[in-house]
């Protein structure tokens, strides 16, 4: 391929063409500099930007986590190397262990169960014929996904307030809400809010996967007399297994990183008894409210390692799964 193109150029070396495309010789003169190796200069801006503002900070974070740095006070300026002390402190910290548990439950319930199941159900329905109004529903689900997280957080804190929408729905069933739900049930409120916010991604992914299944396969199963459940269990499910795996990994990674939504509803403390203090809130809380940036850095490194493992799992699944 590469060689073929070089040959074309050699053939063209006479430069006798007077085509319209060759009329601006200034750009071409300038551009001849970029021929061959020079083209790699095009990579430089991207590498500098990512190197300085993404890769270096992540590496720097590892260094900070090995010191006793603080946001304010004497150890903000002059700090010293303390080895793995912060990691020891981290795993002895009740709040950190709590945030691990909360994050894990939050991810399983809101993403793997809530978003994935609801998304799959909606994708299945949007593939069905003769169902009216499915476009309106999927569009609203999509809009809930694209609204900035801060705005959804604000809306959900109002909806779950003492006189909010959910409280008035509950009162229809005779359940009297005495305090704001985000106060009495902080964890469940962020789980529900995150299902609300993130379902669209799974829905779109599964819709795409279902569209990849040829129609004759459904029809063959129907002719063979399979019930809807059998068709789903033995025909559709195996065919979208890779999509399910990819969806699980990606929504897990994103749910680990969710910040704006729980921050707006519960604040960095994560609500009463830190019941909703997921990992990201813990990091923010330690760094900004407790000024303990070394500990926050250690926590964010542990998180990074876990996310990295998930990303590698994702890349692996892309490589080793044959597409239906």
């Amino acid at each position: 391929m590469e060689r073929g193109r070089e040959k074309t150029k050699v053939f063209d070396g006479s430069n006798t063409s007077t085509g319209r495309l060759a009329s601006s010789s200034f750009l071409d003169t300038l551009a001849s500099f970029f021929e061959g190796r020079g083209a790699f200069l095009f990579l430089v801006p991207a590498l500098i930007l990512i190197g300085i503002f993404v890769v270096f900070p992540v590496v720097w974070d590892v260094y900070v986590s090995l010191t006793n740095a603080s946001l304010v006070g004497p150890s903000a300026r002059h700090y010293s190397f303390v080895g793995f002390y912060n990691y020891v402190r981290l795993f002895r910290d009740f709040l950190f262990i709590n945030s691990l548990k909360v994050s894990f439950a939050f991810t399983v319930l809101s993403a793997l169960i809530g978003q994935a199941f609801l998304g799959l159900a909606l994708a299945m329905i949007s593939r069905m014929e003769g169902i009216r109004g499915k476009m309106i529903v999927t569009t609203i689900v999509f809009i809930a996904w694209v609204i900035p997280g801060v705005v959804s957080g604000y809306a959900w804190s109002a909806v779950t307030a003492q006189q909010g929408l959910i409280a008035s729905i509950l009162s229809l069933f005779g359940y009297k809400v005495k305090y704001a739900l985000y106060f009495t049930h902080p964890f469940w409120v962020i789980v529900i809010a995150n299902i609300w916010r993130g379902t669209a991604f799974s829905m779109i992914l599964f819709t795409a996967a279902l569209e990849g299944i040829p129609r004759y396969i459904y029809e063959a199963a129907e002719v063979d007399g399979a019930t809807p459940w059998q068709r789903f269990r033995h025909v559709i499910l195996p065919l979208i297994s890779q999509a399910i795996l990819v969806d699980f990994i990606l929504i897990t990674i994103w749910t680990f990183g969710v910040f704006a939504l729980p921050y707006m509803i519960l604040g960095p403390g994560g609500g009463r008894g830190n019941a909703g203090q997921i990992w990201t809130l813990y990091i923010y809380f330690k760094a900004i409210d407790n000024f303990d940036i070394a500990l926050a850095a250690a926590a964010s490194n542990v998180m990074f390692v876990i996310v990295l493992a998930l990303i590698i799992a994702y890349l692996w699944s892309m490589k080793h799964f044959r597409r239906w």
Partner: protein
């Protein structure tokens, strides 16, 4: 085609109705309260629709008028999206049209960086920016947001350039164009719809960013809309729901419009996550 299964159809309609109510509830409350002069968390129709909450966006909070935050978002997002798109086009072209050592590893790195949660970068950036004197500067926010969006923009641009046939460029080169000239005049021209999409998606990504500006912008006059909203919400004892909702509606509007416009490309991009 299929004999109608009425029970199943009924279940599906009930399910859709419940899902619809669940998803529209918070959005509807947001819109209703934005036009309600006596807004509260309660879900009620306003006694009369009024724009008084939107007018209040011109009344200062502290020493900043809320509309300023939307303007700040506009400056930050325009700049970050443009830098990220411009830089990504240059390198994506090299990735799509050349083969070199370490290419695969670099692309894999971009995939990884694209998925790293922003808070992992926000914390060290805040410490580093103290030394680099970039706290409370637009330069600082714009640079880090551009870098954050870049891996995504680059991967999309790369697959887009790859999908454009190389033959057009070769034809231009036969006609006397240099390779770079062919890129400028042919490929870039063909890529305009793709580049527009990348720019728009970068723009909305920057627009919604929260944790990074939250940690590096402390001066209320510089905050973008996301941080402004949280500042607005947290700072005062008695929350003015009408004003906050009006601000939220105004702030979400551009994002919703852009996303609905590029929906088709977005769906295709997500489909590409499964099969590559």
């Amino acid at each position: 085609m299929v004999e109608k299964n009425y029970a199943l159809t009924a279940v599906i309609y009930i399910f859709l109705a419940v899902v619809f109510a669940f998803f529209i509830g918070p959005i509807l409350w947001l819109i209703l309260s934005a036009f309600n002069p006596n807004a509260s968390p309660a879900f009620t129709l306003p006694s009369h629709f009024s724009l008084v909450n939107f007018k209040k966006l011109l009344v200062p909070v502290g020493n900043v008028i809320p509309l300023q935050w939307i303007l700040n978002s506009l400056i930050i997002s325009l700049a970050s999206a443009s830098i990220a798109t411009g830089v990504s086009i240059l390198s994506a072209y090299v990735f799509a049209r050349y083969t070199f050592k370490g290419q695969g590893a670099m692309l894999t790195t971009f995939v990884i960086l694209r998925l790293v949660p922003p808070i992992v970068i926000a914390l060290p950036i805040m410490i580093l920016y103290k030394w680099w004197h970039l706290i409370d500067t637009y330069t600082g926010v714009i640079l880090v947001l551009s870098a954050l969006i870049l891996p995504f923009a680059l991967l999309v641009a790369e697959s887009f350039f790859r999908s454009l046939p190389v033959e057009y460029e070769e034809a231009a080169m036969v006609d006397g164009c240099s390779r770079f000239g062919a890129f400028l005049r042919i490929t870039l021209h063909l890529a305009i719809p793709g580049i527009t999409t990348i720019w728009l998606l970068s723009f909305v990504t920057a627009w919604s960013q929260f944790v990074i500006p939250l940690m590096i912008l402390r001066n209320p006059a510089l905050m973008p809309g996301t941080v402004g909203l949280s500042y607005f919400f947290g700072e005062y004892g008695r929350v003015d729901f009408g004003r906050l909702s009006a601000f939220s509606v105004l702030f979400s509007l551009p994002v919703v419009i852009i996303f609905l416009a590029v929906q088709r490309y977005l769906r295709r991009g997500i489909a590409g996550l499964v099969s590559r």
